[in-house]
Amino acid sequence: MKHQDRDQSIDQLLRAMPDDGRAEVQPACLNVETLAAWAEGALQGGARAHAESHAASCARCQALLAAMARTVDAGAAAARPRTWLVRAAPWLGPIGAAAMAAALVLAILPRVGNESPPVSPIADAAVEKAEKEVARDAPAPAPATSSTPRARAEGQAALPQRKVLDKVEPRQQDAPIPLLKSRTASSTPPLPVPELPPPAAPRPAAPPPAASSARAAPPLPDAPTELRREVGQVAAGRDARLKEAVAEIAAPPPVLISTPEPRIRWRILNGNVLQRSVDSGATWVSRTVPDARFVAGSAPSPDVCWVVGQRGLIMVTTDGAAWLRVPFPEAIDLVIVAATSADAATVTAADGRVFSTTDRGRTWSRR
């Protein structure tokens, strides 16, 4: 029996666990005020950790949390911060447009020697047309691609943003992207244009523009070389945008870390960029940690933030600016951190083990 099949068996067992609904109220159970504060994300630091710790083993409080989740007001849900997928959505128009424009540019290249159409206007028109098409197509349903059967069963209603992504992704996987990727991978970047057919016979003189024509066509390049350069520039510009957009989508979603001070926030971008905002997210100051892969963070105060990641990587800042490496005894992947001060934190490894320190990593104890 394969590992995946065994995982599936565990999934079945977990689904079969009934909530018998008979748990009693305990003194530590969440009161209404705490429950409401939790629902609004207003529980901070120790209070949040304490509430989570209790709820993890209290069926009644889990039921309360579930009831709260089910009664989220539609208006309140709409006001929630936009997720990374939604933030990525503005990219989707340009991505599809760029891909289609690049494809069109490449498609007309073999013919330019014969017909010599005005290249830039065609490319721009293609962008415009593609943008409109993508905008029109975006809300159309697409097959769910979530990783779990349950997620698939939840369907598209739970993942509206994903639908937009799914709709566009196949386009990126179509011919234009591999072609463009291989081109961008070239070590000699400037103007990698496919082979053009040899110049044909001199083209006939263009007829004079009609008197009613509102826009005169731009002057045509005189030689095929000029034409090739112009086409190459258009394609290269699209390449850069496309490359950025693809990188954006391939990157992991940002990890947001709130602090007790609402206007001060932290986030982890692409796994290795630590960012801090002191103006409620309007502007961010970045610090890149090469080769790092952070997955979680915890900020017990506005200036203190802990982040953890792969291979036992832990870093902390105590002034909001300088980051220090915190020693950790094992090179295991860390997935959760809950910090209570600049010196004390509890980290959870991917294998479920939990470690605590109260002296900023000089000593660790296993819980």
Binding site: L13, L14, E33, L35, S53, Q62, G352
Partner: protein, 299 residues
């Protein structure tokens, strides 16, 4: 450190409390309680108090004070603004309308019919502005609803003992083997769940036990649904590895038997009550297993 009168006045103005006829003294008393609740026994400094006040939903607090005092325009405003929220929440909890009755019954408590020392005791006195009034009302309704459901379940009779003779508990050797494997699996699963970190256990419980969607689970934990999906898969894998280790090292099963354990779960068909199965396999009983019941799918 106490709150200065200037701060009280500033917050009174920010809350527009005067429009509901809430005096500065009345509002100051409510604010003092809110701040005291936020810090407990600790004495906050001026900066902490300022930050705490800035985070309070003072407009809602002023409305709650006015409603608790029986101010009619405040009540009209409250009913007009918040009844739809309550009803929508009630419908989300029980689509058949059963929770609406609970929502309606809240008004009496909010108004405060019980009197102590000649004073009405309004439910609003428990609102301290730490969340919005709408969310607090949802929490009150959720608490009432969950407790009623749980009380009802407690009153439901337990299954009759003679159910053991039902077809699901046939004593054929194959079934006994399967029963044994299932019970060992569940013991291992219970142990693995116990070893999870709080957050992981909460995530798994909300997703599997409470059957929330990924998005709902993420909303509670402050995680994106994609993160929840990844973490659930990761935890499930960790549980599987822990279960395998448990079966190998603690139950002393061979690799072939471990394989059959997993297969017995995968091949589960028909109703199966693990608590009773344990009775058929006393050798592998574990206290933790008592809390698990494995129910198969309908044939």
């Amino acid at each position: 450190m106490s709150i200065t009168p200037q701060l009280f006045r500033r917050e009174h103005a920010r809350a527009k409390a005067a429009r509901w006829g809430v005096s500065e003294d009345r509002f100051a008393a409510a604010l003092a309680v809110s701040v005291a609740k936020a810090f407990g026994d600790r004495s906050p400094d001026a900066r902490e108090i300022d930050r705490c006040l800035a985070m309070l939903h003072v407009e809602d607090l002023a409305l709650a004070c006015a409603c608790a005092d029986g101010h009619e325009p405040a009540w009209d405003h409250f009913i007009r603004t918040h009844r739809p929220v309550l009803y929508r929440s009630a419908d989300a909890l029980a689509p058949g309308g059963a929770a609406r009755e609970l929502a309606d019954s809240l008004y009496a408590e909010l108004f405060g019919l019980t009197e102590r020392d000649g004073e009405r005791q309004s439910l609003f006195r428990y609102f301290h502005g730490r969340s919005s009034l709408a969310t607090w009302l949802r929490a009150v309704l959720a608490q009432r609803f969950v407790d009623r459901v749980r009380t009802t379940r407690r009153l439901e009779p337990l299954p009759e003992e003679d159910d053991a003779a039902s077809p699901g508990f046939a004593t054929a050797p194959a079934d006994l083997d399967r029963s044994r494997y299932l019970s060992v699996m569940c013991a291992a699963l219970g142990a693995a769940l116990e070893r999870l970190a709080d957050r992981e256990r909460l995530r798994i419980s909300l997703y599997y036990l409470q059957q929330l969607t990924l998005a709902e689970t993420g909303r509670i934990l402050g995680e994106h649904e994609a993160t929840v999906s990844r973490q659930v898969a990761r935890t499930r894998k960790a549980i599987r590895q822990d279960v395998e280790r448990h079966l190998r090292e603690e139950a002393g099963l061979s690799e072939a038997e471990i394989g059959r354990c997993f297969e017995s779960v995968a091949a589960d068909a028909g109703p199966l009550d693990l608590a009773r199965l344990l009775g058929l396999a006393p050798g592998v009983q574990d206290e933790r297993i008592q809390s698990f019941k494995v129910r198969g799918r309908a044939p």
